[in-house]
């Protein structure tokens, strides 16, 4: 952004009626009549990490009582700016004004004193503690200023939960909650101390569509109650649904701010990546129908029971052929996680058999399945996908030491490993990646690219992918989906598990819908549309609609 642009008034709202298809002007004179005025202004904020310039003189102005959405590519600096606002990072330059007052936000505590609450991109809850304990972590109510008052804590948690109509039990340990429920705990935690400004960093990335709708409902309620919300997302549908205004980031700069009524999804996408984006799909070419080979992955009668005796997977059977993408849809928590772990060999089965090609691998550990050609992209990058504190190159190399010839008589050839990692990083356009740095320093979407780059490097024969585009910007999502299709075209059998229905519908050749651990029906792509699949996802039976 140029200096002159900075000296202009910064509301940057598009006022004029644009010519259709024309590129939107970057900054606009501030229109009069925005109610409430600025509750928050970030002016000329810059931030560099060791080798990366994450933010370059960024401005962001937020009106009181609005829902302000921030969009932008992976690594554009969205989380960094929010972390500065929340006192986790300190800006190198620039100032923060809250209600016109210049403030120094030295720590998250100071931030909460200024009425700022934040829900981070990745969970920050303590898994073994209860909901109530997590809500009041580090600030629990005390008796005589000394002993923590557990009754008061529970009471206040219950009030909080009721106020927002969240269905949560304050005494449940967090590790027993579903992802969506955890997300709610995070939100309550941010709201627990009456935050006026609530920051939500990609809260919907891990949610299912109904959960997203619920969250958007909550945001709307909060807005009606006069809260100001800053909301980061990559999903344009959500932007249109909830935003009052949207600011778009690119390469560490804020490139534009619009009032939502004045932009289309395509405009936003265009501003984000600087080009047109086409979402790929499995094109049906009537000239040359897709050819599938033999069954590479065969699942028959697989059953998994948890310690309480509940069937998490119940007699699941299906095959995936060479060259085929088998899409597994379903509301999260209907057994998809277990299915992925079972196929990968990370969870034992109580009954049933799993075959890779002609080998029965039911009892084989994951290492053996990898030798047979398994590639595994787990649903949660920070859980099974990566070791955040290990270096980028070690994370990329982790499953490729042998296949990519990085071992020389038992020792790691650092040169080969680093060259391998650099190639992968370049191929997958991982932004901000410097070898030697911990992978946890990357932005969320770029971490996701590392996992996928690693697993596709071995050219797997059987590819299990869960939520591959979770947290990716649209440009990156497009690229990753292309990669998955390419793997199939090269003969892999792909099991794609996604709670993103559109993703399953556009990529898969056949579609299964999991419900309650069961797989009652598998549809061909020409039988599957959103309505049928949605019906099956809620437990319906497609043969008797």
């Amino acid at each position: 952004m140029s200096l002159t642009a900075h000296s202009e008034p910064l509301a940057s709202i598009v006022e004029e009626v644009r010519d259709t298809g024309a590129r939107l002007p970057r900054t606009k004179p501030k229109p009069a009549g925005d109610a409430g005025g600025h509750i928050l202004e970030l002016l000329g904020i810059s931030k560099s990490f060791l080798t990366t310039r994450a933010l370059k003189r960024v401005d962001l102005q937020v009106l009181a009582g609005e829902v302000h959405v921030i969009c932008g590519e992976n690594g554009a600096g969205k989380s960094t700016l929010m972390n500065i606002l929340n006192g986790i990072h300190r800006p190198d330059e620039g100032e923060i004004l809250i209600k016109g007052q210049r403030v120094e936000v030295g720590s998250p505590l100071v931030a909460s004193r200024h009425g700022i609450g934040m829900v981070h991109q990745h969970f920050t809850l303590v898994p073994s503690m209860s909901v109530a304990e997590n809500l009041f972590l580090g600030r629990n109510p005390t008796r005589y200023g000394l002993f923590s008052d557990r009754d008061a804590m529970r009471r206040r948690s219950r009030q909080l939960i009721e106020r927002y109509n969240f269905e949560l039990d304050p005494d449940t340990p967090v590790n027993r909650l579903s992802v969506g429920q955890k997300q709610r705990v995070e939100i309550l935690k941010a709201l627990a101390f009456d935050a006026e400004i609530l920051i939500l960093d990609e809260p919907t990335a891990v949610l299912t569509p109904p959960e997203v709708d619920e969250l958007l409902g909550v945001i709307d309620i909060l807005r009606k109650r006069g809260r100001t919300i800053i909301f980061i997302t990559h999903k344009l549908r959500e932007v249109k649904a909830i935003a009052d205004r949207v600011t778009i980031f690119r390469h560490g700069e804020s490139v534009s701010t619009y009032r939502i009524t004045e932009v289309s999804e395509a405009d936003i996408a265009h501003d984000m990546v600087g080009r047109q984006v086409f979402l790929v799909g499995r094109q049906d070419d009537p000239e040359s129908p897709r050819q599938f080979g033999e069954d590479l992955l065969r699942i028959s009668g697989v059953t998994v029971t948890n310690s309480a005796g509940r069937r998490l997977l119940d007699q699941v059977s299906f095959n995936v052929r060479s060259g085929e993408v088998f899409g597994m849809a379903g509301v999260d928590g209907n057994g998809q996680t277990q299915l992925a772990e079972v196929v990968a060999g990370l969870m034992p089965v109580q009954a049933g058999r799993i075959h890779f090609m002609d080998s029965d691998v039911t009892a084989a550990p994951i290492s053996e399945r990898m030798k047979l050609g398994l590639g595994f992209i787990p649903e949660d990058r920070l859980d099974r996908g990566l070791s955040a504190t290990m270096s980028i190159e070690e994370n990329v190399a982790a499953t490729n030491y042998v296949a990519a010839g990085m071992l020389k008589s038992g020792f790691i050839d650092v040169g080969v490993r680093n060259a391998f990692a650099s190639d992968r990083i370049k191929e997958f356009d991982v932004r901000g990646a410097t070898l030697g740095q911990p992978v946890g320093w990357l932005s969320g979407g770029n971490m996701q690219k590392i996992v996928i780059a690693r697993e596709l490097a071995r050219k797997p024969r059987i590819l299990v992918v869960s939520q591959p585009t979770r947290g990716l910007d649209i440009g990156a999502a497009e690229f990753i989906q292309e990669q998955i299709l390419e793997a199939a075209d090269n003969g892999a059998a792909v099991l794609l598990i996604s709670s993103e229905l559109t993703e399953v519908l556009s990529l898969a050749d056949r579609i299964g819908v999991m419900y309650n651990g069961r797989l009652p029906q598998v549809l061909r792509r020409d039988e599957a549309d959103e309505k049928t699949v949605g019906f099956l996802m809620n437990g319906g039976d497609a043969s008797t609609p």
């Binding site: 989380s79 972390n83 986790i88 990072h89 300190r90 981070h120 991109q121 990745h122 960093d201 990609e202 990968a344 990370l346 550990p365 994951i366 290492s367 399945r369 990898m370 595994f376 787990p378 859980d383 099974r384 996908g385 990566l386 070791s387 955040a388 504190t389 290990m390 070690e394 190399a397 982790a398 499953t399 030491y401 071992l407 038992g410 020792f411 790691i412 650092v414 911990p438 946890g440 320093w441 932005s443 969320g444 971490m447 947290g471």
Partner: protein, 342 residues
């Protein structure tokens, strides 16, 4: 080359600064209480280098600390907080003593390796037990290693006071091990045990093993995120157990080398809490084997220097406890910790 030198310099800058600040504050303290602060500080820092015999004592002091600390680096890298160095050390020393005393008819060339092996195995098993408990039954290793220390200390104390006690010696000492297994001195440094050379070599090998082999990468993967380690197809739990065996083996070896190279017999209280000192050393060295070696030299310098200081001046040697405490404080302090947030 220049770049890697620079980054190395940057990496150790905070440590060097912490040592400098500590030493400065220490000097202020000494100046406040001592009549001859300069002399006291000279003794503390340089008396170790006054004579070859002082230097040999310094080397001998550093050896067990370095070995245990390098072992603890393995444990930490595997995500295990091993407080059990002391017990592993004592069992290693005892095992070496027992082997040497009971098989004393064997020629030295056979007996010496057997003694070392005994020490390594005894210490290794003492590291293996809490690791298995942790991996299989989720028993907290801090508690189990601490408890196993008491078992080891009391058990060896019984052995040295009763069956193994040297009737001619005064105090709880075992009989002397045969001279055929005494370690030679470092050439040119009489009385400085060759054990130190072993420690240096092992520290370098440890660095290679941890950072340049796939086993080391797997250990660190298991230590930082065991669910990730499993997902990349490595037996995470097994790696944790193996690393803890190695950690125990290092401490056991330290005990064996102490008996063979320095004490020549088992002494009931031969260790001034080397296990705990080594834990601090490993942490201060940011869990790095070479760093652990260097930091153990610094600790040995201070421990021995304090004794000289107390003899020569009126400053009590416990000053060193204060200084090391300050050092821990300054080394662990970080102005703004790097955060991992998406």
């Amino acid at each position: 080359m220049l770049k890697s030198l620079r980054s190395f310099g940057l990496a150790i800058l905070p440590q060097a600064a912490a040592i400098a600040v500590t030493m400065f504050l220490g000097f202020v303290l000494v100046a406040a209480i001592a009549d001859e602060p300069l002399l006291a500080y000279r003794e503390l820092l340089f008396a170790n280098f006054d004579s070859r015999s002082n230097f040999a004592l310094f080397i001998n002091r550093a050896t067990p600390i370095a070995l245990i600390a390098v072992g603890i680096v393995f444990a930490f890298r595997a995500g295990v907080f091993n407080v059990g160095g002391e017990g592993q050390l004592y069992l290693g020393a005892m095992a070496a003593t027992v082997v040497a005393l009971f098989l004393s008819d064997l020629p030295g060339a056979m007996l010496l390796p057997l003694c070392l092996l005994g020490g390594i195995l005894a210490g290794g098993i003492w590291g293996w037990i809490p690791a298995v408990l942790k991996v299989r039954l989720a028993v907290d290793e801090v508690v189990s290693t601490l408890m196993l220390n008491f078992v080891a200390l009391l058990f060896t104390s019984y052995l040295v006071n009763h069956p193994l006690r040297d009737p001619e010696a005064y105090g709880a000492l075992s009989r002397k091990v045969p001279e055929s297994v005494w370690l030679p001195s470092i050439p040119g440094l009489p009385n400085a045990s060759m054990g130190f050379v072993a420690a240096v070599i092992l520290a370098i090998i440890s660095w290679i093993v941890l950072f340049r082999t796939s086993w080391g990468a797997e250990v660190r993967a298991a230590g930082t995120n065991i669910r990730f380690a499993e997902a990349i197809g490595t037996p995470g739990g097994r790696r944790v157990i193996e690393a803890m065996f190695v950690a125990g083996a290092f401490a056991g070896l330290a005990g064996a080398l102490y008996v063979l190279g320095i004490g020549h017999r088992f002494e009931q209280n031969f260790s001034p809490a080397y296990g705990l000192v080594a834990l601090t050393v490993a942490l201060l060295a940011r869990v790095h084997p070479i760093g652990a070696l260097l930091t153990s030299l610094y600790y040995a310098l201070m421990l021995n220097g304090a004794a000289y200081m107390q003899i020569a001046t009126d400053v009590p040697r416990s000053l060193v406890v204060l200084l090391t405490g300050l050092l821990v404080l300054f080394m662990t302090v970080r102005l703004r910790p790097p955060r991992v947030v998406g």
